[in-house]
Every structure is written in C-alpha cells, then in structure tokens.
Symmetry: C2
Subunit: 168 residues, 2 copies
DNA sequence: CTTGGAATGTCAACAAGGCTGACTTATCCT
DNA sequence: AGGATAAGTCAGCCTTGTTGACATTCCAAG
C-alpha cells in the first residue's frame, strides 16, 4: 500500500503515487479553509455560524424544500438542523409554510431579509471562487470539478447532480 | 455582480458565470464531506476526532515541529490544539521533547503507536483520493490542484508550499 | 548582572454545533 | 381504526472552537 504504481504502470501512473495523493489531501485541507473564510468572517458577531450559512444556501437553491430533504442534503440530524432553523425563522430570515398537499410537511423559503443575507454571503464566497477560477483557467476548472465529483459519496453525488442543472 | 462575463469576454469567459461558480462551491461542499468521511469513521468510537487526525497528520509530515508552528499550520488557538495534544501525549501517540536550544519550545514526534494510527488514517484517505484521481485522470488532477492552490489564503499557500516538496 | 518584556506552553471555563434517545403532535394512508 | 410518516421538542452528551489568566523561559537594555 506504500506505493501504488505497481509494476505495470510506469510513467503514466506517476500521478497516483502516495506523494502526489498526499499533496492533493493537503491541498484540500488548506483550500477548504480559504473556501469558508469569507462567509465565516461575515457571520461572526451575527450570532450565526457555518451551519446557518449552509441552511440558507440550500433553501435559496431549492425554495420550498422540505425539512427532510434539507436534512438529507446537509447530512446532519434533525435536532441539529432544527436548532439552526428555529433561530432563522424567529429572526425572520426563513419562512416555513405548511404543505398544501401533505400538511405534515413544512416548505422552507427565504424571506426578503434572508435573501439579502444569502446574497451577501454568496457574493463573498463567489468572489474568491472567481479569482481562483480566473487564475487557473477553464481547463483547470474542468479538472477541478471532475476530481471533486469523483471524491463524493454516492448520496452526495446524487444531491449535487439534482441541484446542479436547475438553471440551464 | 449577478454576471461576471461583462461585455468584453463572451464565450471565452463562460466558465466564470455565477452559475458555474455556484456549482464549484457546491462541489467543494459535497466533496469535502467525502474527503473526511473515511478517517472520521475510523476515529469514531476511539475518543478522537478530526482535530486529532489533523495534528497527527502534520506531526508526521514535520517531525520535531514546535507547538507554535503546528498552531500556525492548523489555524486554531493554542488552547484548542493543547487539549488535543495532551490526550495524544497521555495515550502515548505523540512525544513532546523540550527544546535543546530554546527550552521554552516543545518538539513533537509520533511514537510507533502514533505512526501506526497515522498510517491507518492516511491509507483510508489516500484510497478515496486514489480512486478519484484514477477516475478523473492526470490532466484533471493537475487542474484540481491548480484551482485549490489559487483558492488558499496567502499564509496557507506558504505552509502548503513549504510542506509539499519535502520529498522529491 | 539584573530586570522587564516577549515568547512558549498550560489550565479553566464557556459557546457552537454535532450527536443519541425519548417523546408529542399532526397527518396520511391502508 | 391503527400503523407509518413528517416535523418538532427536551434533555444531555461530546468535540472542538473561543477568551482570559498564569507559569516558565529567553533575551536585551539599562
């Protein structure tokens, strides 16, 4: 397991050495810090955190989504999500409407105030992404997305795919 | 800010649209979950968590590093790191040696037992990385790394660069 | 040489945000 | 009528982040 080049690969498989893989792992670690840094800065001092950001993001992406669906996207327990959702609803950033067809369900929407914060957060996060994309160029970006998609668990890939083509 | 193509870019800058950027953001979110899933599974029930994994990883990468240096790599407060370090030392996974030159400093090393756990964790994490790399191919991997590097904060990029060429 | 400031590391206490388990309420569907 | 499902709640725990106070050690200016 120390070296995955085996005997048959040679030069063509050099990108699969333990050393290359380790560099990728460290790149993920350091990059993710940058990825979350800007929204974290905005949220700090607002009594909100990363958990609130995630909820706001995905409610914005799928207006009218149910609590259960959000749960499965975020991969947390309902008690965890509920704590976050409750504060967002109390503060008037999120609205919860009883389902028309199935009255057990609650459908979640951002209020105007919620959409405003969403905008602020995603603007900041997109700005960093834009700079990185621009610096790396379109081919690199395609590769970036390919590797990330291959790294996801099956369930997450499904959610990702369901979301990603919402707007053509 | 809704659309960054401006007037002058046209087709060539289509990869910088808000929609493309948002897909990248969601890909980072879902992929990072997969990235940490395997080590998390191993650690759960061991009284250790992701913080312990990070400490073990970077001590392994820079044997003899000081607490301060580790602090700056991990980007947490020294009190946070200290708690983690204390339990690792108590459990005999990490050894802390008083500095020869400067006795205020502690130099950190993995014990055999610590190296064993490091191996188990990094094997699991590398396995997922290897599968993703193999599925995406060498060109995609190059792009992946380029975008991640461009996404890092300056300080993190420095740490990343310092670490990454340790072994040629 | 001494003394005060800077640097390194430790301890205590608190908050955010995960988790489990047990339970209620309302609704749906067979 | 009765079991299954969706959502919400309460209590309590753990990990991992935070700040503040403190001990030790080093070094440089007087």
């Amino acid at each position: 397991m120390v070296d995955s080049q085996g005997g048959q690969g040679g030069q063509a498989l050099l990108f699969l050495t333990d050393d290359q893989l380790r560099k990728g792992i460290e790149a993920m670690f350091f990059a993710y810090r940058g990825f979350t840094a800007d929204p974290d800065r905005i949220l700090e001092g607002m009594a909100y955190g990363r958990a609130h950001h995630r909820a706001i993001h995905f409610i914005n992406r799928s207006p009218g989504t149910t609590v259960n669906n959000l749960l499965s996207i975020l991969g947390v327990t309902k008690q965890s999500l509920n704590r976050v959702l409750r504060s967002l609803i109390e503060d008037g950033l999120v609205e919860s409407r009883v389902g028309k067809k199935d009255k057990r369900e609650r459908h979640l929407f951002l209020t105007e105030k919620g959409a405003l914060l969403e905008r602020e957060l995603s603007d900041a996060q997109r700005e960093r992404m834009r700079a990185a994309y621009r610096a790396a160029g379109p081919d690199a970006v395609a590769g970036f997305r390919q590797v990330l998609e291959a790294m996801m668990d099956e369930d997450m890939r499904r959610h990702y795919a369901t979301l990603k083509d919402r707007q053509v």
